[in-house]
Symmetry: C2
Subunit: 208 residues, 2 copies
């Protein structure tokens, strides 16, 4: 069993990874916590604390070897392996995610999409096959899928989550604002665009 | 000048809105804070506190009138008016956002996309015209655009943000994991998918 890493640390790790990849592309080999701190806009004490969770060693006076640090962050996030996953809801957002190249570098490979619209079933979107939702359970069990992405309209999110859990899915990535109820042990993460838009809209109105 | 509402409250308001719209579609006219609490999975004390920020009145023994509560949340988020906005980066994700119908109900109307790829310039994506990034400044000033969406690769995010601010943009909705530096008074909100994916991936690995 792996150590439980705090959520706030986990959310900052991809940001450090972004900085490190840019520094590596710029030709650097080593980096200090202070430099990461400046680029990621996170206090250096916090950067050091976060990176310690990945098990990386800080070489005195040299800082971190960029290549090793990238590896240890990726290992920590389980992004070194690629997990196959299924997506339900092939609308605008779902289609975009099917074509999103970045996921493959973040340990995620969407290998099939599912929808209930007859015009989408048995088509191919950005190279990924789309099937009927009715086939979800048998296909997920056959391929031992553990991650499911929900991009359906919010009112259908709970039903899709229930189907996913019934089919052996262990982690749900929910792109709808709908809170979903799941049994203990099932992981749910939200990408709530509208929560972020709410803050943006209000702050803009507040500044007049 | 409007009161500053806490970020955590603002992030929960869209969730309540979702619940209220579903109850309204189901034919209900009134709702209690307790009921909203159950559906939104937020403690009822917090629901009452959040809703008080919108200025709505709680009718004793009846709770809230759903229609009025929806109106006052939308007014509070400035979602009753529609603000025109520009998007830069018409890749998979950018294209999806251009076609995302939901924004129009959340006070946002993307009226143009911008990219530097010749094959995209002067095309129409999901009914929205796409222009060269070189035209951003003159068009933004002409139409008095205050909101900009960034969906470019992370390494281009800061440059695009600089162009936006130079063009009079006051609020930036950043869909890249790249932290951007802005002068005081400019609002930046992030939709960081990878932060959420990091938590999902690690938690799944932790549970084994």
């Amino acid at each position: 069993m792996l150590t439980k890493i705090p959520t706030s640390t986990l959310k900052r790790l991809p940001q450090y990874l972004e900085v490190l990849n840019q520094l590596r592309r710029a030709g650097l080999k080593e980096v200090s916590a202070t430099k990461i701190s400046v680029f990621a806009d996170v206090h250096q004490t916090l950067v050091r604390k976060d990176l310690a969770f990945t098990g990386i060693e800080n070489i005195p006076k040299q800082g971190y070897r960029i290549k090793d640090l990238i590896k240890s962050i990726e290992a920590c996030l389980n992004w070194s392996d690629t997990s196959p996953c299924f997506l339900v809801g092939v609308g605008h957002l779902g289609s975009a995610l099917l074509g999103y190249q970045e996921f493959s570098q973040k340990g995620l490979s969407i290998i099939a999409g599912f929808d209930n619209a007859p015009q989408l079933i048995d088509t191919v979107v950005h190279g990924i096959p789309v099937h009927s939702v009715l086939e979800f359970t048998s296909m997920a069990k056959q391929k031992n899928i553990r991650i499911g992405i929900i991009t359906v309209p919010p009112e259908a999110a709970q039903l899709v989550a229930d189907i996913m859990i019934h089919s052996g899915i262990r982690a749900i990535w929910n792109f709808t604002p709908q809170k979903i109820q799941v049994p203990p042990g099932i992981i749910v993460e939200y990408v709530d665009m509208f929560a972020s838009l709410a803050v943006l809209s209000r702050r803009l109105a507040e500044t007049g």
